[in-house]
Symmetry: C2
């Protein structure tokens, strides 16, 4: 049996989707949660490209959330069944990743005026824009993000979006009932449900 | 014969890797280059998720650079031969994409002091850090980024990095001979060589 060891910070972010997929697969994994101090002091320089999360599988270090999710997806039964289906998954996760990039830009902006302006733009324009697109996609796909069925796309977006309230003071689940439904669907998946209880 | 129609701005950026792969595949394609005005006025709202590039193949709209490249890669002979090889490609392109995100953050920052500070950090810390990592990877892989052979990873990083000089006033090829070598390798590939002459 392979040994899994995930290293990330002590929040959801882009590490949670990996926790989700491993839980869904029924894998035991070491869930190492580091502080920003530990990261800056020592771990950053030891990491593959200066970023978390990374996942060690029997000592081999995998980095980059998408690379890891895509690699685990076939064994999890969460990949597309052909290139066309994988394309649909890749497009939708890429779109959500653009939203993540905007949020990260907000977190990293130092100047208070620029930061506040950015926060307003994200809450009043960016999020509503994406949510309207996602709602359309979900309707078209019977409540899923791609190909009318569960894939790693749902684990990624729901895993990450748990971070948004603490990051920018805005809860997608409160404002968008269709997002809440998607969240609850993922949170009640076998493995993930049990993991969230811990 | 399929019809390909690429929509992007009139520079390299994250559109150039798609121009590269289509050229490498010997595909004729409409290379539609829009102005930022056209984009803001009309095209953004018609686009799949408010982003360029997007590629129409016989009318079907594909968006997200990575999704597109990954979808075209098998036909181009530039995908991995199995999941392990695809993982290596995904990890290295993801790492380069983190650098792209930092550059985009610089371009988007408005506050002059913050922007200048960010420029200095990128040029003095971020780029040297990534270049040292990439140099190691290239050495390990016989001059390639993954699996010791050409893949869509090279087309992505070289295609994009042509933008860096105009974006932040720093030319990787001048400062890093190994990067120049990689650039020249991709620029002399069949299809790409001819396309660059146009």
């Amino acid at each position: 049996m392979s040994e899994y060891k995930l290293t990330y910070f002590n929040f959801a972010g882009i590490g949670e989707p990996i926790r989700f997929i491993l839980s869904y697969m029924g894998k035991e994994f070491q869930d190492i949660r580091i502080s920003h101090q530990e990261w800056a002091r020592q771990l950053k320089k030891e990491s593959p490209f200066g970023k978390v999360p990374y996942l060690e599988i029997d000592g081999k270090v995998l980095h980059q959330t998408f690379a890891i999710l895509r690699y685990l997806a076939p064994e999890a039964g969460l990949a597309g069944k052909n290139a066309e289906e994988d394309l649909e998954i890749d497009m939708i996760v890429g779109a959500y990743a653009d939203l993540v990039t905007e949020l990260q830009r907000y977190w990293k902006t130092q100047n208070p005026d620029e930061k506040e302006k950015l926060r307003e733009t994200i809450i009043n324009e960016t999020i509503p824009f994406y949510m309207s697109k996602f709602e359309t996609v979900l309707k078209k796909n019977g409540g899923y993000l791609a190909n009318g069925k569960l894939s790693w796309a749902e684990l990624y977006v729901v895993g990450h979006s748990g971070t948004i309230p603490s990051a920018i003071g805005f809860d997608l689940n409160e404002k968008y009932p269709f997002w809440k439904e998607l969240t609850e669907k993922v949170h009640s998946l076998p493995g993930i449900k049990e993991w969230l209880k811990k």
